[in-house]
């Protein structure tokens, strides 16, 4: 779900808070900001964030089981009920001018007294031969997007995380066979999902193995392992973790750690006054939709406090 309601967007206004991102963290932040009566705008490249690609969310309190897209549809309804505007765009630079920030995209310029960076993360790539060549032609980073192409076919999921396990479970619904290829000795999925994977007759786990090349002819045909073996597959789903979308933050001097995650304190403050950060892009050790929302909500409250201290009438 996605739309831009220009009648609800004022490009001349200095917003109390502009939230960068489009996932649960950004929307959670904006919902609280709107309820604090702040003028808030969300600017994001991807509405829904990474969680929209998850086929099953079973750990968001109050909702027993839902797809990631379904959860984000509910977030969208909530956001719409508060008339929070959303724009699909990317900010390429931020500058401080007097008491506010100026944010520049490729399409417009925006002004805000405070900013929350909730730009999330993107899928990590393997960096092996064939990965780029067959992207969209057998190599995928999104099972919910591309799963329907592999009905009755053989696919592999590379990775051993909970996300990898869930991708394999989703893919097993339509495919003939799913291999999980993991470099470790035991997959790191949540126990409930690990149990489901181990019980699923269509899923086979290949442990202590790395994929070193993806081969094909127009489309993917096989993967090569570091032990010299090959496996014939029609599709390769790569799920080896994610990296924070913090390039803009770094460019404007926001402090990050070695992983590129933005350093925040318990108020979701960064080293730059007036700029807050939350969710997957920040340096929390455990990253979930619910923890991102929590940090986003704290960021909204901190931004509210910050703007209030500026004695701006709103």
């Amino acid at each position: 779900m996605f739309n831009i309601d220009m009648e609800n967007i004022d490009l001349e206004k200095t917003y109390d808070l502009i939230v960068l991102g489009g996932g649960p963290t950004a929307i959670g932040c904006a919902i609280y900001a709107a309820r604090f009566a702040m003028d808030v705008l969300i600017i994001g490249k991807t509405f829904g964030g990474l969680i929209a690609t998850t086929h099953l969310v079973e750990n968001y309190p109050g909702i027993t089981s839902i797809s990631g897209q379904g959860l984000m549809d509910m977030f969208k309804d909530h956001m719409d009920s508060l008339r929070i505007p959303y724009i699909s765009d990317e900010i390429r630079n931020i500058e401080k001018q007097d008491d506010h920030f100026v944010l520049q995209s490729f399409f417009q310029k925006f002004k805000a007294y405070s900013i929350c960076i909730a730009t999330g993360s993107k899928r990590k790539k393997l960096g092996i031969p064939g990965e780029e060549e067959f992207a969209g032609r057998g190599v995928s980073y999104c099972a919910t997007c591309d799963g329907p192409f592999y009905k009755d076919k053989i696919v592999c999921v590379i990775g051993g995380s909970d996300s990898a396990a869930k991708e394999a479970l989703f893919l097993s619904q339509n495919t003939k066979k799913v291999y999980i290829i993991y470099r470790g000795e035991d997959i790191r999925a949540e126990p409930i999902n690990k149990k489901r994977v181990l019980k699923n007759e269509k899923i086979e786990i290949i442990y202590k193995t790395n994929v070193i090349e993806i081969k094909g002819d127009g489309n993917v045909k096989s993967v090569s392992f570091d032990n010299g073996n090959q496996l014939e597959v029609d599709g390769v789903f790569i799920e080896i973790g994610s990296i924070p979308n913090s390039d803009l933050a770094k460019k404007i001097g926001v402090e990050t750690n070695k992983k590129g995650e933005i350093l925040i304190n318990r108020k979701s403050e960064t080293n730059i006054t007036g700029i807050f950060a939350a969710g997957d892009v920040a340096d929390a050790p455990f990253k979930q939709a619910i923890t991102g929302v929590s940090e986003g909500v704290i960021a909204a409250y901190s931004a509210f406090d910050y703007v209030k201290e500026m004695n701006i009438e709103y």
Partner: protein, 227 residues
């Protein structure tokens, strides 16, 4: 509320806000029998038209859907190169095709379709100023976007591309293709992932791409921006 009811509710709520008239053409294969009654030969066309009529019926008379049979309108079908049904066309007042849908606007595709209708009707288009500033650098272009119903990112790429086309004074045309309903097109382009965006059958953008990436691909260089 079932997802079907939820989607119908979104269509009802959003289409009621349409304030300016829009006409769309939908091509089906509808033959006229000897007794004068109409019969749709295409299997999907009945369900497809029922869906499109939900948009029309909830628009307070602002949206008009004209169903045209390729059998009864061969010249028109030839003029717009209609070679499969059902096909939806957004044609501007100069007779130029702006958007073509080889996909049913249901599920996640409801919002992009509604956004296209509203922008086509003349509601403010966020990307318009930048598109116009760069129009002299954009060659006449066709953006083909392959999507599936389950793809969460497709609606965003479609919305942006449609908005570009509507702002481009006829220079850009988009074709929205449901790859599961049109597998031959997917096979032709070797596409096994969505969103899969092809510009002028030359440049391919795989996966989620933002508006600046699409515009850069159209221009073949940096975007000119003057706020």
């Amino acid at each position: 509320m079932s997802s079907d009811d939820r989607y119908k509710e979104i269509i009802r709520r959003e289409m009621a806000k349409l304030k300016k008239p829009v006409k769309l053409k939908v091509f089906t294969s509808q033959g006229t029998r000897s007794d004068g009654t109409q019969l749709r030969a295409c299997m999907d066309c009945g369900e497809f038209m029922a869906l499109i009529r939900v948009y029309e019926e909830n628009s307070n008379g602002m949206l008009t859907i004209e169903e045209l049979s390729i059998d009864d309108n061969p010249d028109f079908a030839k003029k717009y190169d209609i070679n499969r049904v059902p096909t939806i066309l957004f044609i501007d007042n100069k007779g130029r095709e702006i958007i073509r849908y080889l996909a049913a606007p249901k599920g996640g595709e409801i919002q992009p379709f509604i956004q296209a209708i509203f922008n086509f009707a003349g509601t403010p288009n966020y990307y318009e100023a930048t598109i116009k500033q760069n129009l002299d650098r954009i060659q006449p272009s066709t953006i083909k976007i392959m999507m599936t119903e389950t793809c969460p990112y497709c609606p965003q790429v479609i919305t942006v591309s449609n908005s570009f086309a509507i702002a481009s004074e006829g220079k850009i045309r988009t074709v929205i293709i449901d790859i599961m309903a049109n597998p031959d097109i997917g096979q032709y382009y070797d596409a096994a992932g969505v969103p899969y965006t092809i510009i002028n059958d030359q440049k391919t953008l795989v996966g989620m791409v933002g508006p600046n990436e699409i515009l850069r691909a159209l221009i073949g260089g940096n975007i000119r921006v003057q706020y």
